[in-house]
Subunit: 711 residues, 2 copies
């Protein structure tokens, strides 16, 4: 049921989307509107702070922030960047609050356009001739994978370009794996679906594109081993027995509209076409923690230096959209147990709301032991299990899948987990050939090296709206005969084993490096709120994922376009319009408009020096992480998930372990089943004694507590 | 049921333990034997290679390796290091193969001795007077935590010393948390349970021990918030609903004796008093992967530089034993689902076998998605769930708990996960006081900074007995106008985005550093076996856990004793007697006998240079990892698990994803439950269209495949 009125942070309802489209049509009656985006323009944070403070204090919320929509639309029949506009529209009143021509910009990928481009490409007689020249095997069905064009400085950027890579299917099944058959051909298509260039792909490591077709090498024809779909894949193993999660009293969470409440957590689920799942106003046990958590951007540059492959570098959020490419999650397939789904909503070109069904799922998982202690004196153990709430979305971006999930812990910690799966991008290579920037995953099939670089945007509200970033390290105390370094008082360290922490609060916006060798820890602190036990500022720390950053040279377009990939941690001053770490418009972007540029602008620009201050201010912390993915044969034909995980944990925020009050785990509730086996069949060797936790007890089979030797 | 005869890698049976004790008594009839250890002396690897090759080829195994036991025993009434011996005994014939006096050595902690030491300490009139001087509250029950003595160079090492730290319980319950009440007192006890020294603990950060008692500060008396046992802890949350794992057809694993077979994995479970769980002859789908996997050692040094705290540094394996301190795992508490337990066996001082019941558990868990791909053209998704086999043991070492688990994946990868939980060690501090090397977790209760450093021993047999270690990094290709660095051929890189890998095989034994900034990867390769697809040596790679190493100065006893803590990765030549990274005898050790010393000995010793060669040899790879644990208030009174995880993954070992043949996940098998909710209650905005994976389809509610726009 839609909550009425919507919470200011709720995504636009389908009714609001349609109403917005109507408002736009009414405001611009003479221009045919071709809609690309109608999405919530979140209220200014200054307004939301007032609203949320009142809401959580149980006060009247006063004037609600206006419901505003961000609209991206082509006006007129020509859908080029000259006719591309962004509007801000008051959803209720219809007022056009803002209108901006996005000259030189291109919107995110348009599925309709892609179909048109593919069809036009395949129907082009020159392309058909080029296909014929490859002398494909009988029964080959040619498939095109259209790729957005990653700027390489070689083309006029005002025109949208689509790179069409060619594959074929040999099996007569729509889900046969055409990625096993990359073809030599490449066609560049214009924004208006015209063929611009046709050429054949490079064959050697140092080669370039050619105009000469090579007849298809028949030794590259595979059997079912390259298939993944059950209709066509080889027989499957039958050894895996069913595994059910049952929750006889239902889930422990409750939802009301987009609000999820679970085990002291309070989370507002957001969703938009671009970022997909977003989280808002995240609290634990009434304490404010985060204003907004989101994947800000991701970049997937390929390391194959050859033309045209240097143009393979995808901004999967800015170019494609994690929201509009979300999978329709299937009950019993993507998760186990009791599952609640949230739909997303997007807009058709004609301005209708369109549902993205089951785009987000919410469910619980058991995560083993949360805490345990056994008193070795009494043998009495207390075990508490870790239940985790998962909010998950899965996206398909052509060949790849990404699984994005926030995991909430009972101990007030949370994890953001990314799993990369799906099919590696493949290019043709001669049988027996090898290149130093890719892996031959099957004869004639090369999977180029590439990187997946994610940027998690953490908009904290740790105990309030003003936070700072403390960078803390653990260092040895000086040995006694050494000079004390700055910042330490002289503490005797005669045995040379003492260590302590030292920390600095970051004063100005910047990028920061990881360093596990000094246990560098990034703490988001609220300097105005001291923990009553430790007398130190309350904090949440970032547990980063250690990974290599961008390999492309700093002078490359890749680097200029993905500024966030230059540092693993960034801290910036909050601005309402700084959600996307590579800028708002990534499609064929030229760079110079991401996180580093914002910082530079404020540092060297006309704004006052205090604009760069991030101490006791409304700040945003960004974490860039990912993987340098040099494919393995084991990633073929579908890769097992590669997991990456980032944590946020309280540090001297609470006054004790927030999960102390979780009920101990017991068999009466959990009903596990003993597997009979040989173990335990030997008689006890001694006189009925057994040993537990280092202590000899009379007979542990009768349970604990029988041999309290230390009492 | 005991398998007869035991497999050569099976732990000693209780019958073998008793028989060995009899053999020893018979061989030394004039000496009273006080046994500390009777454990399997694993057969020499050279013999086992022959045996295992025959066993797996289905050939007659020929002569079985002899069953040998390692025995540690005191002969005579005096249990000091002069009377401490190690024997090697033929279990079947009774022959004493080897006898060695362990002069200057001390065995692992003896629970009986500890009880005797505590009792003697508490009964000593001087100690009683010292307790009285502290003027404890009425009803206080004094508890002693005995600690092994970490060498600091201040004491004669020939005598065993036990450090007794004092606590009190105020509640009249045996499981009340005495760690909340650390007392000022410290008593040093001799190996023969005599009081050596009595003093009060330091109060300030730069202070030392004193002889002046301070009356107990009554403001340090807490309520139930510091308790964890359900009998005495505050009321618990009641919001967590039951969560069951049911496996209607039983588990997917089968065991025969200590052999576990599961989803193509073949694993022999080992167990001993010291390392606890060990794994042997690990294979996947008939391929040899690892000869032996084990936690070799762990070291927990504290960063509090004051006397006597500099002596807090525990080798939890060498001093205490992960096996003999294993928890008796409880059905439905420590794990969910269908669980098989393995018992361990140890020996009493009188030579009887004693059972360590349920020391290891074996069960399956669901780990979310293993791989997924959705064909966006057809909307058809194939999802495969990740089932994981867990082999787990949990140990209690006084206040701390460690959960050690090997996780086996269907994709032939494995993870070694460590969780640290339990109660942080506490020391007294004046109310309102603070020190820079610890956290005040409650008024008057300080938890000193410390480190947990683990060393995983990986004895590989990747595709055979001779392996090498390849250290590989990802580096940008030189930009076109730069000089190519060594090792790269000139590959055009006009767009400055190309990258490639370069690797070196390690020739000599050494320690190596991690470097995520260059994506440094450690691959255990078999140079003699090429992958038929990639034409490169088959490999398993180590996915390290990035962590700070030892903070104690290299000149300290801590550093000398924990040589393994100097580098995160080591490679050594295999030797039968090099199982323990800090040497065989860690109790009050002086250093100079761990992994670095072995390497040094072979490098600079009399052995031939080839003794240090680790290329195409029988090698061992060691990974040191852990945590710098600067306690949080949230770690109090029982800390939520801190997880650390290390991975081993095939890299171009197989010819495709080994989990391709896992059956797709489906609701018919998995039986998840839809949680009703508001989502989905809005009508579709458009004409029944929905969007999935970026494609508009007619109606996703009817399942996939309805709108194959791209076909």
């Amino acid at each position: 049921m839609a909550i009425s009125p919507p919470h200011p942070l709720d995504p636009l309802t389908p009714q609001e989307i349609s109403a917005t489209a109507q408002h736009v049509r009414k405001a611009f009656p003479d221009s045919e509107a071709y809609f690309r985006v109608i999405t919530l323009a979140e209220p200014p944070k200054e307004e939301m702070m007032v609203f949320l403070d009142a809401e959580h204090e149980g006060q009247p919320v006063g004037k609600r922030p206006a419901r505003l929509a961000t609209v991206q639309v082509f006006f007129g029949a020509k859908r080029d960047s000259e006719h591309f506009y962004e509007l801000k529209v008051n959803v209720d009143s219809g007022e056009i609050v803002h209108k901006e021509q996005l000259a030189g910009r291109h919107p995110h990928v348009d599925g309709n356009d892609m179909v048109k481009t593919e069809t036009a490409c395949l129907n082009d007689p020159r392309v058909q001739a080029a296909i014929k020249d490859m002398q494909l095997p009988d029964g080959a069905v040619v498939k095109i994978e259209p790729w957005t064009y990653a700027t390489d400085g070689m083309n006029d950027m005002s025109q949208k370009i689509t790179m069409c890579y060619f594959y074929m299917r040999l099996l007569d099944h729509p889900d046969a794996n055409h990625y096993a058959y990359p073809l030599d051909l490449c066609v560049e298509m214009s924004g208006s679906a015209e063929v611009l260039k046709i050429y054949y792909l490079p064959a050697s490591a140092s080669g370039g594109p050619t105009t000469n077709a090579t007849p298809y090498d028949r030794s590259k024809i595979f059997g079912a081993e390259i298939e993944y779909h059950p209709d066509v894949a080889p027989p499957r193993r039958t050894t895996t027995k069913p595994y059910h999660v049952s929750q006889p009293e239902g889930p422990s969470f409750a939802t009301r509209g987009n609000l999820v409440q679970w085990e002291k957590w309070h989370i507002r689920v957001g969703f938009n076409y671009r970022e997909g799942l977003t989280l808002h106003d995240v609290r634990y046990d009434g304490h404010s923690l985060f204003y907004r958590l989101s994947l800000s951007e991701m970049f997937v540059p390929y390391g194959d230096p050859r033309t045209p492959y240097a143009r393979k570098a995808a901004f999967d959020l800015g170019n494609d959209g994690a929201g509009c490419n979300a999978n329709n999650l299937q009950l019993g397939c993507d998760c186990l147990g009791h599952i609640k789904y949230f739909d997303g909503w997007h807009v058709t070109s004609s301005g209708d709301a369109i549902k993205i069904p089951n785009a987000v799922c919410c469910h619980e998982v058991d995560d083993g032991i949360l805490w345990k202690h056994t008193n070795f004196r009494t043998g009495n153990g207390v075990v508490v299990r870790s239940r985790v709430l998962v909010l998950q979305t899965i996206i398909t971006v052509s060949n790849y899948e990404y699984i994005f999930a926030f995991h909430f812990g009972m101990d007030a910690s949370l994890q953001y987990e990314v799993r990369a799966t799906g099919i590696v991008s493949t290019v043709p290579i001669p049988v027996g050939g090898a290149v130093p920037f890719g892996t031959t995953v099957a004869p004639g099939v090369m999977a180029p090296y590439h990187q997946h670089l994610f940027c998690l945007r953490i908009d904290p509200a740790v105990g309030g709206w003003r936070n700072s970033l403390l960078v803390e390290e653990s260092h040895p105390l000086p040995v006694d005969n050494a000079q004390p370094p700055h910042n330490t008082t002289t503490i005797p360290n005669p045995f040379r084993i003492g260590y302590t922490t030292r920390g600095d609060i970051v004063d100005r916006e910047c990028g920061l490096a990881l360093d596990h060798t000094v246990n560098r820890v990034f703490k988001i602190v609220n300097e105005a709120v001291l923990n009553p036990v430790t007398n130190t500022p309350i904090a949440y720390k970032l547990t980063p994922y250690y990974s290599q950053l961008l390999l492309a040279d700093a002078s490359s377009y890749h680097a200029k376009r993905s500024e966030f990939a230059a540092h693993p941690v960034w801290v910036t001053r909050y601005h309402d319009d700084e959600l996307f770490a590579s800028g708002k418009h990534t499609m064929q972007s030229l760079g110079g408009e991401g996180i580093a540029s914002w910082i530079d602008g404020r540092k060297h620009g006309s704004s006052s020096p205090s604009a760069s201050s991030v101490r006791n201010e409304d700040i945003v912390v960004w974490h860039t992480f990912g993987s340098t993915h040099n494919p393995r044969v084991e990633d073929w034909p579908v890769m097992p998930c590669e997991k990456m995980s980032v944590g946020l944990k309280p540090v001297n925020f609470f006054t004790r372990n927030p999960a102390m009050d979780v009920r101990p785990s017991c068999q009466a509730v959990n009903r596990s089943v003993l597997v009979d086996g040989e173990a335990g069949c030997h008689g006890n060797g001694g006189d009925g004694q057994v040993m537990e936790n280092g202590v000899v007890v009379a007979d542990a089979q009768n349970g604990h507590g029988s041999g309290a030797l230390f009492e």
